[in-house]
């Protein structure tokens, strides 16, 4: 993997911020987009655009083809059994809400949805809303102090056979924890539960094969995978999608409509009401091609090296604590600094050209569990270098000096 060649595909990375070379360590919030993705979207709009599905003309056929090829790309990317199992959504959040509204409506009061203490709000609030609408029970399985799922507790939560659906992240956006998805799936299935994995962070860092994982639902979001905003993915087993009622009503999701009654279209159309994010789906397809052309082996090795390096140099910063020590982690590191608030860290890093995130990272209950209100978080992408991590560490030392 040739990092400088890769970086050259991201002109944004050579900007200066406040007069300093940009050090972008906020990829877990949203990744930058390589030129090929931007170009594929611009090209489609400039020379191949039309609405899809409904047109009998050639331009519409061509756009439909491009959109459906993107669906096939996602299907092979996830190892789905068929392209019909891929539903395009706006983002992960919509994908999870879709499941909560539709699969959720099939659950009975008293049945349980089981989430974990380290969920992003996207995989928590939809289930709370479902609970408040329908009277299901929402259970929360704990994590260990290291930031791993507590598998014993997980087993216990499953043991009364009331859990209908487990919804757990495949990788924490705060702790970097990669959860033992195959175990989680097997245990859920043994207890008669279905399982949704929130892959928003995980797919960025490693090869995902939903059939190997054995999962029932899987979600991810385009903008974190070097793709466009406005596009996300829900994968689910065909028989589940078939059984679920639709989410939104409108054009293209129906097979026939009278004022009295509508008949739904087959999946995935049933879940894609209205004009979809056509150009964005095509951009996502390009992003997946780009990621796979680099290859997860190279990506994984690079990010593991970066993470190891960061875990080596950051603790040298006086007063700095790394949050969590999970068994397996992706390129996401949260930290705090004694006597310096994460927001002040982030502001001063920013003034020195370094972009990190600070706050609760849309995981307030996790913060609460950790006894924190906020952390600073550095996260790495394909284009991140060890030098950038060194700049981070050095700047953190100076920040510490300034404040204490």
């Amino acid at each position: 993997m040739n990092i400088s060649e890769i970086r050259s595909q991201f002109p944004i990375l050579s900007q200066k911020v406040h007069g300093k070379p940009l050090v972008f360590l906020d990829s877990a919030a949203s990744a930058q987009k390589p030129d090929v993705v931007i170009d594929s979207m611009a090209n489609m709009m400039r020379s191949e655009y039309a609405n899809i599905h409904r047109g009998l003309h050639w331009m519409s056929e061509r756009a439909t083809e491009a959109y459906e090829v993107a669906r096939s790309r996602v299907a092979s990317f996830l190892g789905a059994a068929s392209r019909e199992e891929i539903v395009f959504t706006r983002n992960s959040t919509e994908a999870i809400n879709l499941v909560a509204y539709t699969y959720g409506s099939l659950l009975k009061p008293g049945q349980v949805v089981l989430i974990s203490e380290m969920e992003h709000h996207a995989n928590l609030v939809p289930w709370q809303m479902l609970r408040d609408r329908t009277g299901i029970e929402l259970r929360v399985t704990p994590i260990t102090d290291d930031g791993d799922l507590d598998l014993d507790a997980y087993g216990q939560h499953l043991s009364d056979g009331k859990v209908a659906l487990v919804a757990i992240t495949h990788m924490s956006n705060v702790l970097g924890t990669i959860t033992p998805a195959e175990r989680l799936v097997a245990m859920a299935h043994d207890a008669g539960a279905k399982i949704l994995l929130d892959g928003s962070q995980a797919v960025v860092h490693r090869k995902t094969d939903v059939q190997k994982l054995g999962a029932d639902f899987y979600t991810f979001t385009g903008h974190k995978l070097y793709g466009p905003t406005g596009i996300g993915v829900l994968w689910a087993r065909r028989e589940l999608l078939d059984a679920m009622p639709p989410f939104m009503g409108g054009g293209d999701m129906i097979s026939s409509v009278t004022f009295e009654k509508s008949v739904w279209a087959p999946v995935p159309a049933k879940f894609e009401a209205g004009t979809p994010a056509i150009v964005e789906a095509v951009g996502l397809g390009t992003a997946i091609d780009w990621v796979e052309s680099i290859g997860y082996e190279a990506i994984g090795a690079h990010e593991a090296a970066l993470t190891a390096h960061a875990l080596r140099v950051l603790p040298d910063v006086p007063g700095l604590s790394i949050v969590g020590a999970p068994r397996e982690r992706g390129g996401v590191i949260s930290f705090t600094m004694e006597d310096v608030h994460p927001h002040d860290i982030a502001t001063l890093l920013d003034r020195n050209g370094i972009a990190v995130r600070a706050g609760h990272h849309c995981a307030e209950p996790l913060m609460h569990r950790l006894g924190l209100t906020a952390t600073a978080r550095a996260s790495f992408g394909i284009y991140t270098t060890e030098d950038e991590i060194d700049v981070l560490a050095e700047t953190l030392k100076r920040i510490r000096q300034f404040f204490v």
Binding site: K20, H341, H343, L348, R351, N352, T373, F402
Partner: protein, 143 residues
């Protein structure tokens, strides 16, 4: 180091060693300001008389800017009439949020140095709320 202009010496000092931290005795009003985006929280207790703000204390969990703002606000409004305290808040907020209003507020010279110290924050929009949160809480306490 670079970029420290938001952190005036006074701000740093008050964030490290607040002078108005705690709970006021015989409080006549309390209020709480939350910034859910970052978890900052300011709890105010104040004692108001006919004349205005007789005493005010804060318990602040937050960044240096929020800490210092709460403390310098308490200093600025102590002894002020309710109307004057609210007007200070308006001018402080204008100074930070409304580029045009700012100059006149500063020019009018009503703002004490402790509040003027936050001026450099203007160019850092995502941090404005850290400075204005205590004033939001004050508005509630005085309402």
């Amino acid at each position: 180091m670079d970029g420290t202009s938001c952190y005036d010496t006074l701000i740093l000092a008050r964030s490290r060693k607040p002078e108005f931290a705690g709970i006021v005795e015989n409080a006549t009003a309390t209020a709480q300001g939350n910034n859910p985006m970052c978890g900052d929280r300011v709890k105010l207790s104040l004692r108001a008389t006919d004349k205005g703000v007789a005493g005010i204390r804060h318990e602040t969990r937050g960044c240096a800017i929020c800490q210092a703002s709460a403390d310098l606000m308490a200093e600025a409004v102590t002894g002020q009439s309710v109307a004057a305290a609210l007007e200070l808040g308006r001018q402080f907020t204008d100074m930070l949020e409304t580029p045009s209003a700012m100059d006149s507020a500063v020019e009018r010279g009503n703002l004490p140095a402790g509040l003027l110290a936050f001026q450099p924050l203007r160019t850092h929009r995502s941090r404005l709320r850290c400075a204005t949160l205590p004033w939001t809480a004050l508005g509630e306490a005085l309402a």
